[in-house]
Symmetry: C2
Subunit: 346 residues, 2 copies
């Protein structure tokens, strides 16, 4: 006891864009009994004040980073987002080797639910029923409206960027190479990588086209945004996706849960208008917020949500589970979970 009790506790600093509720902070303190925990409210992208940064051993943040000269004690910086692209121009990325960790994996259950929800809302024409209810109208099968409704039995889903960040860029020829070694919410996910019926890789044009020609009913984009993935999908890719379905009934449906810029948004609107895509669920747009006058809002069969697919009351506690795991790994000298690889850009 003696020495440990006298030694100053290491400091965990949380930066947030709005004040944490008192009970939220108490919950966090209870999760880290060995650390001193404090929080500070900062504006988006604002640097962490020097006096706070210098005291911290661990930082948890969305967008606030310390200046490199204040970061001498910092053992890692944990981002509350899955992607770190919004922050990579900061000197902390380029001028230090401080480990940076992401919340990749935390998002999986809510985003999976959001994806399934939107796909079903589209295929089962939920909005038609919703508007019917608002109007107190019993819009039953006699209207003939439900002729085009179909279910998803036997449908083929292609995921661009499967599992933890980066899995899609390397070949996965062996079972062990398909394992997901990032954070996985307990009792969910596909740690062993046994769910996909086939694996593909590469973000060059030829690889992407081979993938899009598989006859997909639903393309889900979950790639990180990097220079290689920017505008990866455009008019030609959407046309290829549609053509590869052949004589099947419904045209492909597209879901984007990564970043708006991974696709050419104008080409997407074109593919929705031409019917090459039967619909699209977009949780991300370019830019964000999407301006009120932007034509994407009213594109045919598009479902837009304001970058909220990952949110929920479980988000913050799960992300802090990663921090807790990594504080332990620092003590034990082990490699951190969800660590950002500076050279690769994700």
């Amino acid at each position: 006891m003696g020495d440990a009790a006298l030694a100053p506790k290491e400091h965990l600093l949380i930066t947030f864009m709005r004040d944490l509720a008192p009970d939220q902070l108490e919950e966090i303190k209870a999760k880290f009994p060995g650390l001193e925990v404090s929080s500070v409210t900062l504006k988006r992208g604002e640097d962490i004040p020097s006096e706070l940064a210098k005291k911290a051993s661990y930082i948890v943040t969305f967008t606030n980073l310390p200046k490199p000269e204040d970061a001498g004690n910092i053992k890692f910086i944990h981002f509350l987002s899955a992607g770190l692209d919004h922050a990579i121009q900061h000197p902390i990325f380029k001028e230090t080797a401080i480990p940076l960790t992401s919340s990749s994996g935390v998002h999986a259950p809510p985003i999976a639910e959001w994806t399934v929800m939107n796909w079903l809302v589209h295929t089962r024409k939920y909005a038609y029923m919703y508007e019917g209810q608002k109007n107190h109208e019993w819009r039953d099968s006699n209207s003939g409206y439900f002729q085009g409704v179909h279910d998803q039995v036997g449908k083929r889903v292609g995921i661009l960027g499967y599992g933890s960040i980066g899995r899609q860029t390397s070949p996965r020829p062996t079972p062990s190479s398909r394992h997901d070694n990032g954070f996985i919410v307990p009792n969910t996910g596909d740690k062993e990588g046994t769910i996909p019926i086939s694996w593909h890789h590469g973000t060059d044009k030829a690889s992407i086209r081979e993938f899009l020609a598989l006859g997909l009913d639903h393309l889900v984009i979950s790639l990180p945004l990097t220079p290689q993935t920017t505008h990866l999908l455009g008019a030609e890719e959407f046309a290829l996706l549609a053509a590869s379905q052949g004589s099947k009934g419904a045209k492909p449906y597209l879901t984007n849960i990564s970043r708006g810029k991974v696709l050419d948004q104008e080409a997407l609107i074109g593919a929705l208008k031409s019917g090459d895509l039967s619909g699209a669920a977009l949780d991300v747009t370019d830019p964000e917020p999407l301006p009120a006058g932007h034509p994407l809002w009213d594109a045919p069969n598009v479902q837009i949500s304001p970058h909220v697919s990952s949110l929920g009351v479980e988000y913050f506690p799960r992300s802090l589970d990663i921090v807790k795991e990594n504080v332990g790994r620092v003590k034990r000298g082990e490699e951190l979970l969800n660590v950002y690889k500076r050279g690769k850009g994700y």
Copy 2:
């Protein structure tokens, strides 16, 4: 060849409330190359004209039945619905022993999708995003709106009436007793009955209350409507369901995909208003169609659809797969799939 070619083909008669499209009839004929297939358009509940009924060996119908005296050649009557409650007053039920088969099982994939869709639409507040999009508003997380959004990891779902019709009424103490012996759409379902974490049975008050006290996050009602299940759930049952959740965050959500009369609709409205239920998805109401002035339309957090959860382009072909299987079973002298048990009422 000789004799078989000369023998008159058996006749399969399909009755429908509107004309079948020519290509639909062609598809059906292709499915039954050994039978003569014809269709007739009849009003809901209208008896099948004698001259048609007398020629038929097999009848496929929603609501149209032959008079007993015209049914001498009929080997079975197949209903395009899962429940037969709408037709059990007909003399063909009481005065003949003609096998009657249902479409139970055909509905499983679309109804499962409808159920998941509505649950997610509720928990993820889809309507809020949908209305935001209509207004071109980027209603992002800063609104604080998403504080109450949660995902379904670890949530407990209770199904009243699991699997094929009637499984819920008998004890299921052994693995083999849990098998689903009805029709199952290939590559779906739970034929072995291994998915539930526990099994319960009985439709008496005490059994139902024991079930409702399990701390369910989501109660799905898929019971057949019988005298025993009519108004099975009322004010006391909803209160018990809510109370058994204890200190958990969200109150239980209710889904009804069976018949409106299995619950006391006024009590349901009360439970939604009091907050004992966080929401409800109803594909069935009492009566149907729900009159435009009915208060259920505007009950808090209710999602109503006009008895369409099972519909889709796959419905009819899958139901005819049961007919095809049963024509084979008649030839082989085997027990029919999905056969109605007159004594039990389902």
